[in-house]
């Protein structure tokens, strides 16, 4: 990227693939000043996550958490969604690419389509519904799922019979049977690849009889079965007879960790967790007792708080059987017999009603071809080749990668990578920020606060969606009779572009100062109509919507009279409320263009450096004298990358960057302000010099440390050491303690992890052990190395190293928590006794070294957490805003986290997360100003009793009792939930836009109609 001429750089970015990763990358970039082209080859965005029922480990409903993102992407002024589109070719270089894209015909004009659904209702042709994994059918004219973005239908010409019915009923005239494929060239500075993976097709395994037995389903099919919007409406049923199953088995590693029947030697990284989730959720859905059994090899619950999820599932009665099942046989009419060998070597047989194949990920053929077209190198598993120290950069400069094309991974990891890729892009193109983005020019707002309400009511027919059921003219005439109403009209489609323009004119012409639209849901259309108001110079809060479609015509279609009556009620309610609405003025607050990064390890340094490269000032605060953190003690990664060389380079870059200020021996001793405007007091240097830092964002990267074992004679014998101590020996190779001279080594896993005191899995210790075992074997191939483990958690591509280790003769022996190995003194040396689960007897080994894979524990951050008011879990790791979709944000805006302060992770993962935090922070800073206020709480201090009830009830800790001894709610911090308002015993707090009289007027207007 160094040789790119800035004049040629583009301020636009292409994101290929609109799953959760692609959406996140797009949102970050579009909000931080770049025009984003978001491509997806399907007609909608959302990717595989939109098909999931619930997500682990929070059991959130996937659609509930993804749909706000869908809407945000769909509405973003600087994201152009290109559905049905693929990359054809690329030219140019980093900073300036010309990408030719090919859009397949959709046959429905998205600009005209209002998603009213009439076309679907008349469509006579059906096809397999791929969204529901072929468990049911859909029409040829379809929308992939109800919440889909872009909101518009598609015609599947493969099955369309061309009958013309849809064209006839479409009042918006959106249907174009003659639609053609189109090509266009997009000029972008960078490309982010997020095409995702496909799930493994198990029909390749004939012994699983997936194609022959209907009750053998894939895990993704099972997600759809569980989903409330799925083929069975969320009722737990098996496909064969639509009966509720009583006994379900999950078979793990289908299409993963297997080089015999397929080529996927890697671990797919997510299947253990989703199988547990599916088993637990299925139990919750079942009306009778449901027996669930998961057949697995290693239970890989290595993510943050995953182990507790696993433990809870066991308490829930989910059975975990350590065995790989090789075939599924029929039993009776439609049941399924599994034969397997248990751990004791006994042959067992069990019959299940249903079997779920936990299918893994693989890179699709289309993606492999895409990579080829783009000149991006893939590895032997077809995942993108990346640098361990820049895990989001592909082999081609200017092209970044995130999500499962990089390696198999779960949603939070994908989201982090997406932000990381955005950070890479943003650092590269920072001088082009805001050069290609669009802004909306608005006329000045008219002050209407002194005017009596003049309400305009617009009633929508929504084609025939509303008009076909509700007597719209009657509603229109009724609205005319309501108080303060000065203008009423009805429209075929109130949301159509031409109507919008005309509405703005009418508002100006008639002096309308409050608008009511009786149409569909504010969820999708409020923003649009508010914009219309703004175009007419009216404050956007002077608006209310009566939902006479979703809440009326759609749900009362069998009783037109009652639906019409209800529409009148809803309009009356809206008009009443509108009369009381007040103008609200959001204030612009400057955002300080700098960030404070706390912690100078790999994560903190990467975050600071990326912020700096994005053009912001960064102050890096490190508690030690030296930068580097825990990585100073790691010589090489498992891929044999030299960590120390990297670290030296990184430190040099950080120290020499003009935008970075490094404070060492530093501690945060004071923190105040709010997002965009923080003031932190730092004491640093040997003299504890106090310095005040003003900054717009903060990133917490306080890191972790290795647990000092109390067990296994640690500290009693110098033969017993931790993995990091072994690393040092391996690195230094000094006489007398050269590991090359050893002949027997035992490594013990899960020391200080996965036990009562610390139920978390430390994620990285399995790979540390395998890494060091391989290094020892390298030094001395004759060395006997035993790794005593509970589950080998070599997730994702790490699995290959596990395979290599076994090939090289490293012995892996499993132990149970209640029967751990024993380390004893043996003369000068030590010996280890452990139970061999293959031999089923105790084995005693005299050893030269016992290496303990000690837990990774959070660093002490009590004071910092108190200063920043950010939450931590019981084990001292910081808690992100949302485990799934906001993995680097804190719930208080403007503060982010990364690295091992979040949870244990590899260096590469820390770097990714650091970039992600920098991206989120940069996105916030790039806005330069912040709109605050609007629908937030405000205190009438004359009646405030300073009772602290608001202070105690606010979930965000916003209210405070100020110097005047009354409650004060900072509008920049208030989230507008209204909890304090409803708790205030003096009734002296109101939530703007939802003030008591506004709510009660709504209620009053409804009920006066029935009195």
């Amino acid at each position: 990227m160094a040789n790119t001429n800035n004049d040629q750089k583009k301020g636009a970015v292409l994101v290929v693939g609109a799953g959760v990763a692609g959406m996140q990358a797009s949102l970050d970039l579009a909000s931080s000043g770049y025009l984003v082209h978001l491509l997806d080859k399907s007609p909608t965005i959302g990717g595989i996550m939109s098909q999931l029922d619930k997500t682990f480990p929070t059991n959130d409903c996937a659609m509930c958490i993804i749909s706000p993102k869908l809407v945000e992407v769909g509405r973003h002024l600087n994201i152009d969604i290109h559905p049905n589109t693929e990359v054809a070719s690329i030219e140019g270089e980093a900073g300036n690419f010309a990408v030719t894209v090919q859009t397949q015909p959709r046959y429905i004009d998205l600009a005209a389509c209002t998603a009213c659904g009439q076309c679907r209702q008349v469509c006579p042709a059906t096809a397999v519904n791929e969204f529901n994994q072929a468990l049911d059918l859909r029409e040829a004219t379809y929308m992939r799922y109800p919440q889909a973005i872009p909101r518009g239908f598609t015609i599947d010409r493969e099955v369309c019979i061309g009958c013309g019915l849809c064209e006839k009923v479409c009042l918006a005239e959106a249907i174009h049977y003659d639609d053609q494929a189109r090509q266009k060239v997009l000029e972008v500075g960078s490309v982010i690849l997020a095409p995702g993976n496909e799930v493994f097709d198990p029909s390749r395994f004939d012994t699983y009889n997936y194609l022959n037995f209907p009750n053998v389903v894939t895990s993704l099919e099972f997600e759809r079965i569980l989903s409330a919007s799925g083929p069975y409406r969320g009722h737990l049923m098996r496909p064969y007879d639509r009966e509720e199953p009583h006994k379900i088995a999950w078979l793990q590693c289908v299409g993963s960790r297997n080089i015999n029947a397929c080529d996927n030697s890697y671990c797919s990284a997510v299947c253990c967790m989703y199988a547990i989730k599916e088993a637990v959720i299925a139990k919750e859905h079942a009306h009778a007792d449901l027996d669930t059994a998961i057949f697995y090899m290693d239970m890989r619950t290595y993510g943050k708080e995953f182990e507790q999820y696993y433990n809870r599932a066991k308490e829930h009665g989910v059975r975990f059987i350590r065995s790989r099942v090789h075939s599924i046989e029929p039993a009776g009419e439609c049941d399924l017999r599994l034969s397997y060998t248990n751990e004791k070597g006994e042959q067992k047989e069990e019959v299940f009603d249903m079997v779920v194949l936990s299918v893994g990920f693989e890179v699709g053929q289309g993606t492999i071809e895409l990579a080829e077209r783009l000149g991006v190198e893939l590895n032997e598993h077809h995942f993108a080749v990346t640098d361990g120290f820049m895990p989001v950069a592909t082999s081609r400069p200017g092209i970044y990668v995130c999500g499962t094309l990089q390696a198999p991974k779960d949603i939070p990891q994908s989201v982090m990578e997406a932000s990381g890729a955005a950070a890479g892009t943003s650092a590269m193109l920072s001088e082009m920020r805001w050069t290609e983005t669009r802004t909306r020019e608005l006329p000045p707002e008219r002050d209407v606060s002194e005017e009596p309400p003049r309400i305009g009511v617009f009633v929508c027919n929504c084609g025939i969606n509303i008009g076909g059921i509700v007597d719209v003219p009657a509603v229109r005439e009724y609205a005319r009779t309501l108080p303060n109403v000065v203008h009423v009209e009805d429209n075929l489609f109130t949301c159509s572009q031409d109507t919008q323009v005309r509405m703005a004119e009418v508002i100006k012409e008639k002096g309308i100062n409050r608008m009511v639209v009786a149409a569909c849901t504010p969820l999708t259309h409020e923003a649009l109509f508010r914009e219309t108001l703004l175009e007419a110079g009216i404050n956007k809060y002077l608006f209310d919507m009566a939902n006479i479609r979703n809440q009326d015509s759609w749900v009362h279609m069998n009783d037109k009279q009652k639906a019409t009556d209800k529409a009148k009620d809803l309009v009356r309610m809206s008009v009443a409320r509108a009369g009381l609405l007040k103008e609200l003025h959001e204030k612009k607050v400057e955002i300080k263009q700098s960030g404070l990064v706390i912690g100078g390890g790999v994560a903190g340094m990467n975050a600071a450096l990326n912020l700096a490269r994005q053009g912001f000032q960064a102050v890096l605060v490190e508690k030690d004298k030296e930068l580097g953190g825990l990585a100073r003690r790691v010589s090489h990664t498992i891929e044999n990358l030299d960590v120390q060389t990297y670290l030296d380079r990184l430190i040099t870059q950080v120290k020499s960057d003009d935008n970075v200020t490094v404070l060492t021996e530093a501690e945060v001793v004071g923190f105040k302000g709010y997002k965009g405007n923080f003031t932190t007091t730092v004491q640093h240097g040997p003299d504890k010099t106090e310095q005040t830092v003003e900054h717009g964002v903060a990133i917490v990267a306080t890191g972790a440390h290795e647990y000092q074992p109390k067990e296994f004679m640690y500290g009693e014998s110098d033969r017993v050491m931790t993995q990091l101590e072994l690393d040092k020996l391996l690195h230094e190779r000094t006489n007398g303690s050269d590991p090359a001279t050893w002949s027997n080594v035992v490594m013990i896993q899960c020391v200080g992890s996965r036990n009562e005191e610390n139920p978390n899995c430390s994620r990285i210790c399995c790979q540390s052990a395998v890494k060091h075992a391989l290094q020892l074997k390298e030094l001395n191939p004759e060395m006997n190395i035993y790794i005593l483990y509970r589950d080998m958690r070599m997730y994702g591509l790490l699995e290959d190293y596990y395979t290599e280790a076994r090939k090289k003769g490293i012995i892996f022996s499993r132990f149970e928590l209640d029967n751990p190995p024993v380390v004893n003194r043996n003369g000068e040396g030590v010996e280890v006794t452990f139970h061999d689960h293959v031999l089923q007897r105790p084995v005693k080994v005299p050893v030269d070294a016992v290496v303990l894979s000690a837990a990774t524990l959070a660093n002490e951050t009590d004071r910092l957490a108190t200063h920043l008011k950010v939450p931590r879990n019981a084990y001292g790791f910081f808690i992100e805003a949302h485990a799934k979709l906001r993995p680097v944000d804190f719930s208080s805006e403007g503060i982010y986290l990364c690295g091992t302060a979040h949870s244990p992770k590899l260096i590469s993962e820390s770097i990714t997360q650091a970039l992600a935090a920098a991206s989120r922070a940069g996105t916030f800073l790039a806005g330069k100003t912040l709109s605050v206020g609007g629908a937030v709480a405000h205190v009438d201090k004359t009646h405030c009793a300073a009772c602290l009830v608001c202070v105690m009830s606010c979930p965000y800790g916003v209210p405070r009792i100020n110097e005047e001894n009354v409650s004060e709610i900072n509008e920049a911090l208030c989230q507008g939930c209204g909890v304090c308002v409803s708790e205030c015993p003096a009734k002296t707090i109101q939530l703007s836009h939802y003030e008591d009289d506004q709510v009660l007027e709504n209620v009053h207007a409804l009920l006066e109609g029935v009195m």
Binding site: C64, D552, V555, C977, S982, D996, V1003, L1007, M1011
Partner: protein, 125 residues
């Protein structure tokens, strides 16, 4: 997901069930509603952390008052559902309507109509 439910359900929109005030529920009943239910997010899923749990307590509180003044606490209810559960909403709407219909019109509404000299025999609306 266009499922049918009775027309007598009308929705008052608030940013969070945590904004539902005891007074809102009381006033709705006082104004003559036959029943009120609060539809909050699933427990543990509150966007604002615990607004729905507060709403649940407030509903319970209002139920107690309504029982004591003879209006009947069963006329108010709390339900938890996610935004993705359209069918569940319809089910709740039907369930609540049936429950209220079985109870008949609210005594407040009957009394108000009587005082205004209007017929009081119609079924719960």
């Amino acid at each position: 997901m266009r499922l049918n439910y009775p027309t007598n359900i009308k929705i008052v929109k608030l940013p969070c069930s945590g904004r539902v005030d005891i007074l809102h529920l009381m006033k709705a009943m006082e104004e003559g509603a036959d029943g009120v239910f609060v539809a909050g997010c699933l427990e543990g899923d509150c966007h604002y952390q615990a607004g729905n749990l507060r709403a649940k307590k407030r509903v319970a509180y209002v139920k107690e008052i309504l029982d004591k003044i003879g209006v009947g606490g069963e006329r108010v209810a709390m339900y938890n559902l996610s935004a993705g559960q359209g069918p569940r909403f319809a089910e709740i709407a039907r369930e609540m309507t049936e429950k209220i219909k079985a109870l008949g019109p609210s005594p407040i509404r009957i009394a108000k109509r009587k005082a205004a000299g209007r017929p009081t025999t119609e079924e719960a609306a």
